[in-house]
Symmetry: C2
Amino acid sequence: MSSPPHCEMPLPVTPMELYEKVALQGGTVRLLKSNKAPKNVVNLWNSLPQEEIDAAVKELLALKMDYKTLTGQEYKVGIPPTNSTPANNNSLATAEDDGDIVDPWTVQTTNAKGVDYDKLIVRFGSSKIDQELINRMEQVTGQKAHRFFRRGIFFSHRDMHQILDAYEMKKSFYLYTGRGPSSEAMHMGHLIPFIFTKWLQDVFDVPLVIQLTDDEKYLWKDITLEQAYYYAVENAKDIIACGFDINKTFIFSDLDYMGQSPGFYQNVVKIQKHVTFNQVKGIFGFGDSDCIGKISFPAIQAAPSFSTSFPHIFNGQKDIQCLIPCAIDQDPYFRMTRDVAPRIGYPKPALLHSVFFPALQGAQTKMSASDSNSSIFLTDTPKQIKTKINKHAFSGGKDTIEEHQQFGGNCEVDVSYMYLTFFLEDDEKLEKIRQDYSSGKLLTGELKKILIETLQPIIAEHQLRRKQVTNETVKQFMTPRKLVFDF
Amino acid sequence: MSSPPHCEMPLPVTPMELYEKVALQGGTVRLLKSNKAPKNVVNLWNSLPQEEIDAAVKELLALKMDYKTLTGQEYKVGIPPTNSTPANNNSLATAEDDGDIVDPWTVQTTNAKGVDYDKLIVRFGSSKIDQELINRMEQVTGQKAHRFFRRGIFFSHRDMHQILDAYEMKKSFYLYTGRGPSSEAMHMGHLIPFIFTKWLQDVFDVPLVIQLTDDEKYLWKDITLEQAYYYAVENAKDIIACGFDINKTFIFSDLDYMGQSPGFYQNVVKIQKHVTFNQVKGIFGFGDSDCIGKISFPAIQAAPSFSTSFPHIFNGQKDIQCLIPCAIDQDPYFRMTRDVAPRIGYPKPALLHSVFFPALQGAQTKMSASDSNSSIFLTDTPKQIKTKINKHAFSGGKDTIEEHQQFGGNCEVDVSYMYLTFFLEDDEKLEKIRQDYSSGKLLTGELKKILIETLQPIIAEHQLRRKQVTNETVKQFMTPRKLVFDF
């Protein structure tokens, strides 16, 4: 068949060609945005009209959509297309307006400030952690709210008031968090839920279970069971180094613990009976060509939300409520869990959601354990920390000292400043830094120096504590046993 | 829109109306067939032309197809349509030519002689157990072949020659069989794989594992986990009463054992990584509205085919081949298992397939544990056995003594005769019964009397042995432990 002479047929395009086009356009958008003042600042110097940036972003989004249509995969920076068949990816978990993509496997935004979390709260149907809740927590516990609460790092919740109601009535609950051990190397972002969970455990004095989903990593990655389990044990050492109380904490690998407690498997089967393929397709975007392990996995992450999964801790009691601190991308698992809970006679778990820890290159993505320059690793030396921050931390400062002093830096996109909000405890000091950087008084190099000097001792102390974690200690934490609480 | 005046619109029909139409037509076909001589007998007396029967069967099959289209369910005798949504039931497991339906949940044929097993061998791609294999087995083991071999009751196999090759070279293997504990009540048909497996264990002197899929029954039936587990333990008593050697046999409930051995779960995950939803859809006919527990269950029935699922027995050795005696309807699970095995570094299990044990009403269906008159239960009294056989056992005899003596009975459809092929050990006696019944010398009442007198002591002895099985004995059989074999 011949095509009409005036209508040029599009050239056939391969997934790799399209991948490269998206990458190129992504670079263009970043370049345009880096030359642009933040929205809230009077635009005196910016030679780029907003329209030009908007058009470039629009083009980028269109290319990404083409890419997804052609390959069935989300475009991911640095990850070329694979040969897998297009997935039927109509995921409800994916929040895709404005280019934000948030699900357990992808977090991506084209906005340098990061994902729009207020919109995420609306989309996911959770509640904002507002000042009222923070005040109530301080009142109930008699403790100052953690800086992650004060600074909106844990920003969203489900049923936290219920937990506090119960706590006020001396009714216990338990904490559950976890980690997917995809490699030996953990970075600073991985610490966020654990730092916060340790604080919650100290404040509320409740049992804590930590799930290492080595089975998930085996199912999703090209690694052996043995590798996945090895990563689980290595990661457990970093988790233990966060200072958890061995008498109040049970850490478990799925591959191990599934074979150690019939209660866990029995809850998995109960959940699996009450969730259809249609549901996991909707929630997680699974397709017909996904393996049955992936399809049934959500039940395994859901099961620790129910106290009967830990008979040695809760003595068979089935009504101990669970509170789950986690990054917001894990919420789809627990929306599913909360849907199933009443149907199998268990209380719904409550949740506390955190924002994502930004990559050094900017808040557009989560840090990646596979790109050593995207993150500060827990194994980095003081020198590596210094070099990485100086070289890779995306700056909200201006190109020249003169410009910076005249117009000020942009804390909203500056990664060094963002990192300080996570790790600098002193509120007043942080506020002073923000003012000085925004006004241009504090230069980018100086800001980076403050961050370097903040992180170096934190990492060094972590490394020291981790060194003290023996295999014997790991074994103790990972042995199913009664904790100090009586149920 | 109006329809053309000459084209009568079909009346709207409800699933229940269609169900009743199919049931009615099924009765018609049975009636026609019962008045017809067997194909191989010269037709002197039959007033019904074959065409009339063929037309009735054709009509029945068309109605069944309509029923399936309307309801998404297979028509099953005595089971009215439910409200579940139509399944995407394009199962490869289902062998549906000639009205034969064979998959793990449905066995049905419109032929009074039962399922056409030769066709099943072709469809399933297995091998016939021929005289050569039987001779070889007798030669290798030095034992006379079991009557189930001699009479074609175990009729099909996969890789049995491989097992014998290995056995000749003093390389061990192990036996694996199982049962889905859907109720407390087991019937005689349920004993077939266990009687045969006990014989195999005695002859080959190898370890045996017996899986009770209480998780499967929980997923498929409207029962609680506790009920499913209770049925598993009760069924274990009947299984133990078959005479298995406690030092060579491990019986396990999935709900129990999954939480007792990480090796089992780790194999489940390995299998689940290598089977897609598309594959289980093709093999088992699962649909999008099936729960994720059903979708992932096949891996749980597959896992005991690999010796690493039982580290306490096989000491971590991963190359001990498995031989699975089972009814042919379970083959889809093990076709899947054999497909996965080499991809995860394990030997493919070998199989021995049995025919189905016919219901008292005829070989069209398997016995049903839910219809007490369709089967002889292991709990039946001598009187109940007598009454059931006299009243319900489908007869291949003629309507009057005179006709019977003149034309002879039809052993091919006579259930009493079929039951004797399963339970009467003496070949010569059985052959004499066949000849006398076919010639009309032996009357139906006399044949039934022989069956009654054969089964009464078998059941009575089973009941006696079962009474001796204490909870303590069950516990011992079901405790993960080393058996007498050294690996």
